[in-house]
Symmetry: C2
Subunit: 273 residues, 2 copies
Amino acid sequence: MYISINNELFLQENANISVADLSIQRGYGIFDFLKTINHKPIFIGDYFNRFYNSAKEMHLEVELTRNQLHEAILKLIAKNNIPDSGIKIILTGGFSADGYTMVKPNLIIIQTPLNIIENTSGNGLALVSYNHQRQIPQVKTIDYLQAIRLQKFVKENGAHDLLYHNNGKVRECPRANFFMVTDDEVITAKNEILHGITRKKILGMDIHGYTFVERDFTLDEAYQAKEAFISSSTKNAFPVDKIDGKLIGNGKNTITRLINDKLLKLIELDQRD
Amino acid sequence: MYISINNELFLQENANISVADLSIQRGYGIFDFLKTINHKPIFIGDYFNRFYNSAKEMHLEVELTRNQLHEAILKLIAKNNIPDSGIKIILTGGFSADGYTMVKPNLIIIQTPLNIIENTSGNGLALVSYNHQRQIPQVKTIDYLQAIRLQKFVKENGAHDLLYHNNGKVRECPRANFFMVTDDEVITAKNEILHGITRKKILGMDIHGYTFVERDFTLDEAYQAKEAFISSSTKNAFPVDKIDGKLIGNGKNTITRLINDKLLKLIELDQRD
């Protein structure tokens, strides 16, 4: 398995960077994550838009143009030969002499086999809520301090993942957006969240009898939803059965399944494109 | 110059770690920073208390006991031969197979020449305030996303550093605590801050006519202070002349100078100990 560092390929066991890097010294970096199906990066334009925007927001220069970055990813894909994969692009603050001042960023691209978790068992996820507002939420930074620190808390609560809320207003999961379904709406948070690419694809859908809405809503509203689901590149639209131990809806997840099917079709279209 | 990684010494140019480390992947790590004077680590007991507490709060195991960590630091000090230095101890989430689950932490110790900035010019610092509450504030994590992102903002405002406040309540600087002096009090924030070791030494002082107080106070109160200063291991007690362009006090900084002298004496005592 090869890893690309500043557009040079290294065997995984040699893919090291200096401890002077600002990611290690100051947690300073951004990233993005997209998938390949049959060697083809999916929705790459959307991911590139977000990645370059994150870099700009954090004053990090991407040395490669979009075309060059695309080439670098294709080079890695060709070398590793993993048809269905996750591609993680990390951009750090670079090697800083004083451990504080930003310098020339380091660009790391890592490919891993894709672990799509299909909801075949019919069981959805159990989430446990936690009062936390991500800082610089619109930027995909490498900051997962709370998510990783709280892994123990999630387990102790018999849950699979966290659901962040800001004083009762539902925000997102650490690595996914959150949606709830009412009688006639599919609702997701509008503000102070990361705008997921899968979320965007869902908001662009048409389902008869339902309106897609971005707005603030409370945890109490989520408890009362007909259905709930999370969206991400690896999970697509994945049902949520429980929040804070409370069962959500009747477990049928009809709309969630419909949305997931529509996502799979969009992915297939992009894969063939 | 040598760097210690998991208690093994590496030349600086070979001090690399795998990009699988959770600090690079997820910004997950803690650190601490202490100084040596004439090869002697100052207030090491206090720094160790904080370091081991940070590790515990973030569920990171320190493989070395306090004695072993002390030995590791002395080994590095002996090898590098820098009498007056800063010692940075970083503990990361370790090499994670899935880039998310915590594993065996990596311990990195870096020594650099100490750059004590004495206030010889008589000029204090200019701070610019910014509304930001650090997450997990009592823990010395490697999260400096805001501080580094805002370096440009600090420069544009003709300031030397940031002063974080939480909706008007003064908190701290990114790498220092903040104090203000009134007619009869020396006041520093109590809550939602990192409890600095230099801050602790100051709060233990006795100055005739002054009470040392930990409490919430507002930016407006700070603007009206007789004196203001920041405290840190490298800056000791360093005067602040301006906040948001407003001059603080009359520029004499009598109490700040007295506190700084007392700090230097405490450091000298510990150095001889």
